[in-house]
């Protein structure tokens, strides 16, 4: 074991922002469905009645619009990939959910992670600076490779988001929204 403390005194070092890009949405889709020969983009637009029907199932869809990638091989669907983002106390997490044709979650991959100083994470301007950033155009914020240690980050909001996406995809399939 080798550990070298940072030169600066911890308590006096300025807090900085932190960002990591892991995968683009396309890379995640290919990773989850390596056998796919095509990914078809499909939009789900839920109307008010459909939003209500989902809410009646105990799912708060949060958005009426969802973009779904349908993984296909030889024209046969293999599954679905949906990208979403959630905001925690200090972090913005973009993630992709892969769902098999059986409706079960196949894989969840984090696409990017943004750690903020706190308050600005809820400001649209702060979040907007990351739009369009993917792993092919990584941001240079602080040490690119650095890892965070701290009290355990709860990913409850990610797991809640995954459940929401599973419900939305199942609903859309039942109602013919995904072909």
């Amino acid at each position: 074991m080798r550990i070298a403390l940072a030169a600066s005194v911890v308590a006096l070092a300025p807090a900085s922002a932190f960002a990591v890009d892991y995968l683009s949405a396309e890379q995640a889709a290919r990773l989850m469905f390596p056998d796919a020969d095509r990914f078809e983009s499909r939009d789900i637009d839920l109307d008010a009645a459909q939003l209500q029907a989902l809410a009646a199932q105990g799912v708060q869809p949060r958005s009426a619009h969802w973009a779904v990638r349908i993984a296909q091989r030889g024209g046969t669907p293999l599954g679905f990939v949906v990208v979403d983002e959630v905001i925690g106390k200090f972090e913005l997490i973009t993630y992709a959910v892969g769902i098999g044709v059986d409706g079960a979650v196949k894989q969840v991959e984090v696409l990017s992670y943004r750690e903020s100083h706190g308050h600005e994470i809820r400001l649209p301007a702060w979040r907007k600076q990351f739009i369009g950033k993917t792993s092919t155009s990584p941001l240079k914020v602080g040490e690119d490779i650095a890892n965070i240690s701290g009290a355990t980050l709860s990913c409850t909001h990610v797991t809640d988001g995954v459940k929401r996406i599973v419900a939305v995809v199942a609903f859309a399939r039942r109602h013919g929204g995904l072909g």
């Binding site: 074991m1 940072a6 650095a146 009290a151």
Partner: protein, 245 residues
């Protein structure tokens, strides 16, 4: 250097688990690492009724069950640390430290009221096993970070930053190679909880521990939070160092 590392992150163990890898078939190694973490989670989570811990809770007194080798390994480490700390480390959280026993992979429940919570040690164990799986899959260097419980192996030297739990933001703390590091933050509002056997409360601070293995780094943060002593003799036993900050 960063361009050579392949990094992936998934929500597991109730937190974000990040894996970095270089050398060998990194995709296979990363999958192997995540697979082991998923497996450990399914065995030791107290939130899953089908896990070994969930099944233990459903047992009546004087019954026993066969548990997975992962569960048995975590319980053996918990027992060792319980004895080494004169009972301060207690995976029953006071519900009956003497009321369970694990012989090999057979786990005995000795009292109806006893409950197990392996949250203070299983995350570090899962990280260690993931590192082992990655190395076995041919990965030369990398790291596994389960929400702050980190282990680094091979040629990787990982800069560690600490999150400020009050104000947000991260601060550079250290560079870690060939070892493990864990941080817990104890506060009335945070998820990490610890209570001394005499009912004493942990220090209100971030507690970080570096050790060769992540299981011990993870578990020792809880004990150091209770003793408040970064010169605690238990640290030397596990070749560990601790910081309060």
């Amino acid at each position: 250097m960063s361009a050579h590392w392949t990094r992936r992150a998934r929500p597991l163990l109730g937190t974000l688990v990040e894996v970095g890898a270089r050398g060998g078939d990194v995709e296979i190694a990363i999958s192997a690492g995540f697979d082991v973490i998923t497996e450990v989670q399914s065995r030791v989570s107290r939130f899953e009724p089908d896990s070994d811990v969930g099944r233990f809770h459903a047992l009546s007194a004087d019954a026993s069950l066969s548990v997975d080798a992962h569960t048995a390994a975590v319980l053996a480490a918990a027992k060792e640390l319980h004895d080494a700390s004169d009972g301060a480390f207690d995976v029953t959280l006071g519900s009956g430290p003497g009321h369970w026993r694990c012989d090999g992979t057979r786990l005995h429940k000795l009292h109806d009221a006893v409950q197990l919570d392996l949250g203070g040690i299983a995350k570090g164990y899962a990280v260690d096993r993931a590192v082992l799986a990655m190395r076995r899959a041919g990965c030369a260097s990398g790291w596994v970070n389960a929400g702050g419980d980190v282990r680094v192996f091979g040629e990787a030297a990982l800069p560690l930053s600490l999150r400020d739990e009050h104000a947000g933001g991260v601060r550079p703390f250290a560079t870690l190679a060939d070892g493990a590091f864990a941080t817990s933050h104890f506060d009335r509002r945070t998820r990490s909880q610890a209570v001394g056997i005499d009912g004493s409360q942990p220090v209100r601070a971030h507690v970080s521990v570096a050790a060769p293995e992540c299981l011990w780094a993870d578990a020792l943060t809880k004990l150091i939070a209770l003793s408040g002593d970064t010169a605690d003799p238990l640290l030397a036993r596990y070749n560990a160092q601790a910081w309060l900050h």
